[in-house]
Symmetry: D2
Subunit: 299 residues, 4 copies
């Protein structure tokens, strides 16, 4: 429980609302900064302005999932004001205050480290990446079904990468009835894919493997579907590229060859914003409770 | 094989192209009527006009999936001409000629029966309905993912009906990670659902069952989701109604209550036209070969 | 509920104990005949002798799963006495009395029919066959694992028949990682197997299909694995024959050829007697409640 | 390929035969030491005695899966002679020679290291552990089915540990229809189990979790099912302990409480010796080819 703890939210998007809701439910004292346009305000939370005073009373400070930009700008979809997080603000935080964000860019990282602020980057966590693989998979399914004139069922389907996303994806495609092959580079991934009936191959042989592919789903963050590989694939293959920008496909070559290749980033927030918000809320709550409790013990 | 057999196609849509292709591959002599605007004409098939002469030489006559209308009009997306199938045409067919269509309305049925023409309705077949359940399921998935802000995974999901579509659908939803419950009315369907881990209930208890539903997929061709039932469901449930028109939902009531309910007919041709065409081609070929062979034996 | 109803049990084996338990729980008045050696007697049930008097007061009479033999002999593992069910006994039953058994042989059938006794044969029901397929499958798995020196995973496995047992079995073998092919003879079974990824073939081609089989599971109650077929199979194939006696294998030929073929009847009672008992109890309770209620309405 | 390479086998059990077969197929020159009682000798391999001469001509030396004992004794089921591997033997090996075994005890490890012999321990590899999880799972299934009077289907089943064995096992139990819960201690394992529908819990709460368990499968190599936990479990739970000796159960307490708890070590070699042999052969071949090729490049 977070009874008596003061949690300050500084900006964010729809996903943050789930976190605010959870904090209120856990009896924290909640302050919101940069949420003045919120359509249905929370009973149990107080709107405030960004001042050193407020921050000096924070036990927990929650920044947006995307942190700040390189100038310290905080983005919030719920305000029209510009908000900047400065060194002064950070210095105002009490020493026991915990800071939560999704990903910390250099600016924020430096600020925290030089001022000894204990910060948590949620998107760097393995568990969060696995939870996020779930809406990612559903988004990938949707895109594949929208973009092909055949079914996934009974199709020749390749999944590249057996990491957090790849494993979830390959399993679901198999369950839908696709003939799945998985491209990996480690022998233990090869063995796991074999155990799961996922027909592994080593990505070193990718050229031959794509020859009769109907669908290719990429999760490898490297240009693995380059011109050499694509020149072996059928013209009517559908490629869904999930790897973060710039993706894993030579898109220019694909276009020239008439291959449909689609870069599909940020699917969780698009296909299932509420689930995406809950994933963050759940993990943040767990971390808050664990770390605040620890604090308590130390005092 | 169909060597030497004369197959005449009379109208149709994209799905028919797969059947034409298959007939050519099986060495039939192929005539096309009502295909004059075909973009890439088939080598191996001859374009013809609708005459009694051509029909009198047909071993097999293939009508569109949707047959004729009640005046005998043949629809074809590949011609701008109007084509009508009359009693004269039917009388011109040799007595051994087989007629294939998807569904025969009364007009066509009467014509065939009063003239002793042996006809096959593909869409009445159990196997075709099962094959078609596959693209139907993928279309339903796509619509559910598009229309909800949560994932199917970990959702409370109800499938109504465990027939040809319902069984395929429930299985896939379960594999994706939904908590699936299946509404049935026969004790053997109940038992099969139990065996497959699909948490059956009898549709007589539908009211209580919908209380915490996130998704409801309906395959029952009867207004089963009526106002009495819908008044028990959450406001934010997403309903995908697959049953043929008018569907199984009291749409007016759903709208009043603010429930998202979507009628989603004819999915196979929409989400996977090529697969839908292949399903028809494969079944038609099988029937042709079986029945022509028999004929052969009799001669 | 069975409040006030008098249920008389006449013999049976361990599976009947679950039924007795259920009747007591539903507040029936329970009489037991042929249970004098019961180790832990039921509180809530009365031991009796077989008399016309008792029977004349029965609302429901429950015979063993295997009914009577052709002389009317009732088998019971819980008594050392010989018990016979005669026409006199049947005549003593009140006209509204319902009789339950697993399977009625000619003797019992005739008795019931000539005396207008309303009887239920549980093992003839589709739902019971499906429920029983579950322990049957687990028994078949166990026997296959015991009898081979390779894993089911990654094996070439054939399931013959896609009926109540075949469907359950094929699904589980596939989930364990076997490469499953299913032999069927109906086009809709073929389609369903295809939809489920079970690689169907028609049993007319069985000879070619067995050529590289590691395991064959038979559920077809006909000698389908005859010498002609077996002469195509590898020597080290393991055959588990589930079909009721005499099974579906030419065992003599198999032995000559050195093939391990095992007839495995009555698995539910062997591998999971408690589950097998519950299946019967659940179905019998449902039927009793439904039919007794109906009775009630009529009176 | 291993053309021209000299592979020397020194002892072993049935699993080694698959390796020998593979080496012959890959055109290696094969010498066998300690295989004089082999029932069906390999054409393509030569029986030899253990001499320094033979070893001095070896490119690859293959020891038994279990290596040597602490005195250097080599066990072989195919000879009645006693064979010892001494420092002299190791010194005789050419410097490029590769040594393969399953697990190297201190004696062998020291010998190899002090003489700079390049050795490979197969059982330490992640991929081998995953491959071996497959026959382990089938053995565990078999034992569970044999030892319970209910089905796995619809049972309350707990799997402890989501490592190489735990993941394979939980997946299969779920597919068979058990209600599976998985006990883990890492948040990413928790997330993966959630994604796979495996209902995770933290092992810190094990006590409450076992309360309605029908089956518990343990893969955690620590006494996790201690008296405190077992005192919460039902009397009729069936425990299958897969962890290597001494296992994860307080067996004495279990016995006192009347709980059936079975330690089931070394399942792969017992339930599927041929598959177990192939796993080793496949991995060894891969390593030989990779490492011999490298050698070749260096020369
Ligand atoms: N589109 C979306 O909505 C969305 C959502 C989530 C994640 N993502 C993105 O998807 C990608 C995968 O995410 P993840 O969480 O699955 O990451 P991950 O767990 O690190 O998986 C990446 C996989 O790619 C493999 N890989 C990396 N480089 C490779 C190479 N050169 N050749 C062959 N395989 C290689 C890795 O293998 P090793 O283990 O051998 O390195 C691993 O299997 C990331 O770019 C991530 O940002 C996108
Ligand atoms: N949207 C699309 O793209 C698409 C594609 C294919 C099919 N469809 C349509 O989907 C529907 C289902 O097709 P199908 O092939 O699955 O048909 P089906 O095999 O006949 O299945 C219909 C199911 O509904 C049950 N049912 C019927 N009336 C009921 C009632 N009053 N209460 C409870 N259950 C009832 C049936 O149970 P019993 O067995 O007990 O009768 C059966 O399980 C049809 O309307 C079909 O035209 C739509
Ligand atoms: N060993 C045990 O413990 C155990 C437990 C339960 C049942 N059984 C036995 O297992 C057998 C199957 O039971 P079930 O409940 O699954 O029966 P079922 O539902 O009737 O299934 C039998 C299957 O065999 C097929 N078949 C029948 N004759 C055939 C033939 N000549 N060629 C090809 N296929 C043929 C049927 O196809 P069609 O639909 O085309 O006829 C059907 O798919 C029965 O003998 C039953 O007594 C044994
Ligand atoms: N019976 C057989 O035939 C057979 C066959 C193969 C293997 N085995 C044995 O089975 C065991 C598991 O093998 P494996 O390959 O799956 O090993 P593994 O991959 O290391 O898995 C062990 C699992 O146990 C967990 N664990 C360890 N200590 C724990 C603790 N104190 N509390 C909670 N969880 C704990 C580990 O979690 P962390 O990741 O958090 O450490 C991991 O998930 C080993 O003892 C192995 O020798 C037996």
């Amino acid at each position: 429980m977070l009874i008596g703890k003061h949690v300050v939210f500084l900006g964010g998007d729809a996903r943050q609302l789930e976190v605010i809701k959870s904090c209120i439910e856990m009896n924290a004292k909640v302050s919101l900064i940069g949420f003045d346009n919120l359509q249905s305000p929370f009973s149990g939370a107080t709107q405030r302005r960004l001042t050193k005073k407020v921050l000096s009373q924070a036990d927990i400070l929650v920044l947006p999932i995307i942190g700040t930009d390189d100038q310290g700008k905080i983005s919030s979809v719920f305000t029209s004001e510009e908000i900047y997080l400065t060194e002064e603000h950070i210095k105002a935080l009490p020493s026991h205050c915990l800071l939560f964000t999704g990903l910390a860019k250099t600016y924020l990282k430096n600020l925290c480290e030089s001022n000894q602020v204990n910060y948590f980057e949620l998107m760097m966590r393995d568990d969060v990446a696995i939870y996020n693989s779930i809406p990612t998979v559903e988004g990938a399914l949707m895109m594949a079904i929208q973009n092909a004139d055949i079914t996934l069922h009974d199709s020749q389907t390749i999944v590249l990468g057996l990491g957090r996303v790849g494993l979830s994806l390959a399993r679901v495609l198999q369950a839908i009835g696709a003939h799945v092959k998985v491209g990996v580079r480690k022998s233990d991934d090869y063995a796991r894919a074999f155990e799961m009936g996922l027909n592994p191959f080593y990505t070193s042989e990718l050229g031959e493997q794509v020859e009769n592919a109907d669908f290719i789903f990429n999760t490898v963050p490297a240009v693995i579907l380059d011109s050499a590989v694509l020149s072996h694939s059928p013209y009517d293959v559908v490629i869904i590229d999930l790897a973060s920008k710039p993706g894993g496909v030579d898109f220019e070559f694909a276009k020239k060859r008439g291959i449909k290749a689609i870069l599909a980033p940020s699917l969780p927030g698009i296909v299932a914003p509420k689930t995406a918000g809950k994933i963050i809320a759940r993990t943040m709550m767990k971390l808050m409770v664990e770390n605040v409790a620890e604090e308590g013990n130390l005092q």
